[in-house]
């Protein structure tokens, strides 16, 4: 059994030419594959105006290459709708899809009371059998909705289509309409999120956004108390992130109307159009809802980021500046001043041990960007990063949106047409307000993307493959890699610590100030762990037998 020796484990930092690395990554691929991957592997170069090279993304994965991506159903049911506690989410399909997405994402939720609806611990499925594949599954679906209603009396039931449903032609939307009418006091809606649609989870996010916007947003016009009403979009409460952010909001005096969708309730979505500002955390998964809410109700959106202490402070100030209220601005400064010392204390303790170490992040549609900030705060450099399912605007910034070509796979995902609501459209910003935003340097509906914040010469890799991951480890031997559960143990078996940034392993929260402290400590623990020193047994370090015991 061959083990790694300590010298191999921490080699001197190699001075590698990124062009050579790219060549090595592509060398083994068949020509056509290499040609395609070459467009998805880019060496970063930031221009004076923040312009960056074009990266191909949101395109089909090469069959057989072994990547990170999941499917549309996972993006729709798992990611966006999964964290909402009081919708009965029924998977229409064979049992697997519902089973695998059952409680596996670590979204936490906290219903207000012991009697309040919370279905997150349950997995609901029509458990489709061959009979339904042959004769159709609508009848069983109808019956399943009825049974769910009879058992739980939920206020809403969501139906999620899996691959065979689309193929056999079950009309899930017709069933939803029919059952909604029949049940009377239960909103029933369906999502055509068959796994084969689109090229990744991303299509599922879009479908979920459309569905929630069409069927839920705007159902409750009650205007809540509160001066500074906001929605937080694209925050999924992994490991308790949302709780930490909610605490901060409360201390700052913001009124959180809804979160899409960490620690969320159906009722919050229904009322979300009464907020005055939308904050976008994960741009990829949720920007559609923000855009539609702006068009229909006049709510502007800004990009914020609560990953990293600096980013959190900056985001809070940005929100306060948007509302332009002296008292609010002061309170936000107070909160930041109160929270920062504890963060600084830990940062100073941890930084000397982490300084100069190098990270790679290949994950999701926003985290590969956001977490670079946290690493930077403890002196660690991100030498390569990439998304699993993001689009060009997430890499290069929304400035490239007009130039993105829509291919056949994306065209299959419905773009719903939204018009200003005749009664409820209310632009939150006047001309004067808009001018003030510009003056304050608040970019509305803008996201500058990941690449402008990365170093020149760093590698940006979209939809990375297993082979490329192994090569990067071999060539760079980074100190830590962040990705998902499927990648975790292959990376750790190579002697490199691996942090999951989908589900945070067992950790979290990592958002906001307390989250930053948790993350600094976690990374310190990982990159400075003693365990890697023990890979070799004594007899592997000194295999030659110099002498043997003579027992006297």
């Amino acid at each position: 059994m061959e083990t790694l020796n300590p010298e191999e484990l921490t080699p001197p930092v190699p001075e590698i030419n990124a062009e050579d690395v790219k060549k090595e990554l592509l060398e083994k691929y068949p020509t056509k594959v290499a040609r395609k991957r070459a467009k998805q592997i880019v060496i970063n170069q930031v221009g004076p105006e923040g312009e960056v090279p074009e990266i191909q993304s949101n395109v089909r994965t090469v069959p057989g290459l072994i990547g990170q991506r999941g499917c549309t159903y996972a993006g729709c049911k798992g990611v966006v709708l999964g964290p909402t506690r009081d919708i009965v989410n029924i998977t229409h399909g064979p049992i697997g899809c519902g089973f695998y997405s059952w409680l596996t994402r670590r979204n936490q939720t906290k219903p207000p009371g012991p009697e309040d609806h919370n279905f997150m611990m349950y997995c609901f499925s029509t458990d489709m059998q061959e009979e339904q594949i042959v004769f159709g599954g609508e009848k069983k679906l109808r019956q399943a909705v009825q049974e769910a209603y009879d058992l739980f009396k939920p206020k809403a039931i969501g139906i999620f289509a899996t691959c065979p449903v689309g193929l056999i032609g079950d009309d899930v939307h017709a069933v939803a309409r029919e059952m909604k009418e029949k049940l009377g006091d239960c909103n029933v809606f369906a999502f055509s999120c068959e796994g084969y649609k689109g090229v990744s989870q991303s299509a599922g996010h879009h479908i979920a956004n459309n569905g929630i916007f069409t069927h839920v947003v705007g159902l409750n016009d009650t205007v809540q108390e509160g001066k500074f009403k906001i929605n937080l979009l694209g925050e999924y409460n992994i490991g308790g992130d949302a709780f930490e952010i909610e605490r901060l909001f409360e201390e700052c005096g913001f009124t959180l109307i809804s979160t899409f969708s960490g620690n969320s309730s159906y009722d919050y979505f229904a009322n979300s159009h009464t907020a005055d500002l939308n904050l976008i955390m994960c741009h990829r998964s949720i920007n559609y809802v923000a855009e539609m809410m702006e068009t229909k109700f006049g709510i502007p959106w800004i990009k914020i980021n609560f990953i990293g202490a600096g980013a959190t402070a900056k985001s809070l100030r940005k929100i306060a500046k948007f509302f332009d209220d002296r008292e609010l601005l002061a309170r936000v400064e107070e909160v930041i001043a109160r929270e920062l010392p504890a963060v600084e204390k830990v940062r100073e303790e941890v930084k000397p041990r982490c300084q100069g170490k190098r990270a790679m992040l290949f994950v999701g549609g926003s985290r590969a960007h956001h977490y670079q900030e946290l690493f930077r705060e403890i002196g660690m450099e991100t030498i390569a990063a990439g998304y699993e399912f993001a689009h060009r605007d997430d890499y290069e910034g929304r400035r490239v949106l007009p130039g993105i070509k829509v291919d056949a796979d994306s065209r299959n995902i419905e773009e719903i047409h939204v018009e200003p609501d005749p009664q409820r459209y209310r632009p939150r910003l006047t001309e004067e307000g808009l001018a003030r935003m510009q003056e304050a340097g608040i970019e509305l509906k803008d996201y500058e993307g990941m690449m402008p914040e990365m170093c020149d010469g760093s590698l940006v890799i979209d939809d990375i493959s297993q082979f490329e991951t192994e090569k990067l480890i071999e060539l760079y031997r980074p100190d830590i890699i962040c990705a998902g559960i499927k990648e975790k143990y292959a990376i750790q078996k190579s002697g490199v610590p691996m942090k999951q940034l989908h589900s945070y392993d067992s950790g979290g929260p990592y958002a906001a100030f307390q989250g930053a402290i948790n993350f600094y400590r976690e990374i310190d623990r990982m990159v400075n762990s003693k365990v890697w020193k023990y890979l070799q047994a004594p007899w592997q370090k000194h295999p030659e037998l110099a002498a043997k015991y003579v027992w006297e």
Binding site: E2, L4, L9, K28, P30, R60, T61, V62, P63, G64, I66, Q68, G70, T72, I90, P94, I95, G96, C97, G98, F99, S101, W102, P114, M121, C123, T126, M128, Q129, E130, I133, R142, Q143, A144, Q146, D150, F152, C163, P164, G166, L167, G195, Y196, K197, G198, V199, A408, D409, N412, S465, Q466, E470, K488, Y489, A490, Q492, K493, S494, G495, W532
Partner: protein
């Protein structure tokens, strides 16, 4: 309460499955294929399937789980997945260089009716399969059977593609271990070794899904049955198949294809099932059982006699897979624990009849359901409480709400380790099960004892 909406009142459901005690075929096929040395499982479906299967297996084993996908898009779903699979085969052999690609289908590719043997033949004709490499397949539609069925189908696929008869019977015995953990497969090999019976065990995930940390990642770890051995299975003196559902189809296929006779036994979990396994192996190979195994058996018996008072009359609820549940229920009844609620998600009337037979002496009404779910199990427990739960990690929600100790056992176990290292088959495995059961029951007794009844010696 986490499962706050589960009512005591049981209403039969005909359409809605809640909290399933099963999952779909492909994951079982993927697991089985990982038991071939240098084999890359391949999921012929959309990316979500392999992503979910790899994630679940990874969480269960805390090991790399390598597999590939045809990555269907809407186009492939309309026009068929042939182009995707051909491309995948070419890419996999070029980039990852496995010896075998084991293709399993999904509900997607089954619904559109892709003909895998035809696609494999085309790949061969087009020179996409290098010499000495293999592409095998199993049909695993997710809307038929469960993960157990998928496992059985892939193991049968190994026989269909590899087994060859060389014309005479050789000395070795085939052992098909069933849908058990890597350490269980290792333990079964060890027992055969103790008996001095040369065997080919397939599939064999030991050394694949419990591989050591060396600082070096190997896409294809040291473990797994070799293709050479799989070919030799056709010349074995006989096959011992453990677990009727998981191993029966492959054993029967070997008989049909290569005239290798088979004995299909229960999984060797617990005293009686292990006795039967060893006795059968002894007779097939014509060997004497060595004292080492008698000692192991004696130790298991010793613990049962020593601790019988803690087992006797305690009520247990079980969820799991049929092959495992049959043996476990028998073991528990043998030590006078009383299984009163037994659920598997895998359908089958025979299972229910068998469990009824095993539990007929239990002096309580026994609920058993094949094709049931954990929602039903929870309702049964609400109506007739138990002292112990045994099953996969999902039972922890019932355990917490009802305050019942849980012994994690089965698949998947997502929140503890041990299941891939410490076997539950054989006499030693029986000892481990007893230790876990006793720890759970006695910890509870300690926790709940009044101060005056809290005892040092138990």
């Amino acid at each position: 309460m986490l499962l706050r909406h589960t009512p005591n009142d049981i209403q039969e459901r005909s359409a809605l499955a809640i909290n399933p005690a099963k999952t779909c075929q492909p994951i079982g096929a993927m697991y089985a294929a990982l038991g071939i040395h240098k084999c890359l499982p391949h999921s012929h479906g959309s990316q979500g399937c392999y992503a979910y299967h790899r994630s679940t297996l990874t969480r269960h084993y805390k090991e790399p789980v390598m597999a590939a996908t045809s990555a269907f898009t809407e186009g492939a779903s309309v026009f068929g997945g042939q182009a995707n699979l051909l491309q995948a085969i070419n890419n996999i052999f070029s980039v990852y260089e496995p010896e075998v690609i084991a293709v399993h289908t999904t509900c997607l590719s089954e619904t559109i009716g892709d003909d895998i043997p035809q696609i494999i033949a085309k790949a061969r004709d087009e020179g996409k399969i290098p010499p000495g490499r293999y592409v095998i397949h199993a049909n695993t539609p997710s809307y038929v059977g469960t993960h157990v069925t998928g496992f059985a189908n892939m193991v049968k696929g190994m026989v269909d593609y590899f087994a060859q008869a060389n014309g005479h019977k050789e000395s070795w015995v085939n052992i098909i271990p069933g849908y058990v953990e890597p350490c269980d497969m290792e333990e079964i090999k060890r027992i055969a070794g103790e008996l001095g019976v040369p065997c080919i065990l397939f599939p064999d995930t030991s050394g694949v899904l419990n591989a050591p940390q060396t600082g070096r990642f190997h896409m294809f770890p040291a473990g797994g049955v070799t293709t050479a051995d799989l070919m030799r299975t056709g010349s074995a003196v006989g096959t011992v198949a453990l677990g009727k559902l998981a191993s029966g189809p492959a054993a029967r296929a070997l008989d049909t294809k290569c005239k290798v006779p088979c004995e299909i036994l229960d999984l060797p979990i617990g005293l009686q099932a292990t006795d039967l396994f060893i006795d059968t192996l002894r007779q097939i190979a014509g060997v004497t059982v060595p004292d080492s195994l008698n000692i192991e058996r004696g130790r298991l018996l010793d613990v049962i006699t020593d601790m019988h008072q803690y087992f006797f009359g305690r009520k247990v609820a079980l969820a799991g897979d049929p092959d495992q549940l049959i043996s476990l229920t028998q073991f528990l009844v043998d030590i006078d624990l009383w299984p009163i609620h037994i659920v598997t998600g895998t359908p089958g009337k025979k299972f229910e009849a068998r469990i009824k037979e095993i539990t007929k002496e239990v002096p309580h009404p026994v609920n058993v359901r094949a094709g049931g779910d954990m929602f039903l199990l929870h309702q049964w427990i609400r109506n007739a409480p138990v002292d112990l739960l045994m099953g996969n990690t999902y039972l922890k929600y019932i355990a917490r709400d009802e305050d019942i100790p849980l012994v994690r056992w089965g698949f998947p176990i997502l929140d503890r380790i041990g299941h891939s290292y410490f076997p539950t088959v054989g006499y030693r495995g029986g000892l481990r099960l007893l230790e876990k059961i006793l720890d759970a029951l006695m910890d509870r007794q300690d926790r709940d004892a009044p101060e005056e009844g809290f005892e040092l010696v138990m």
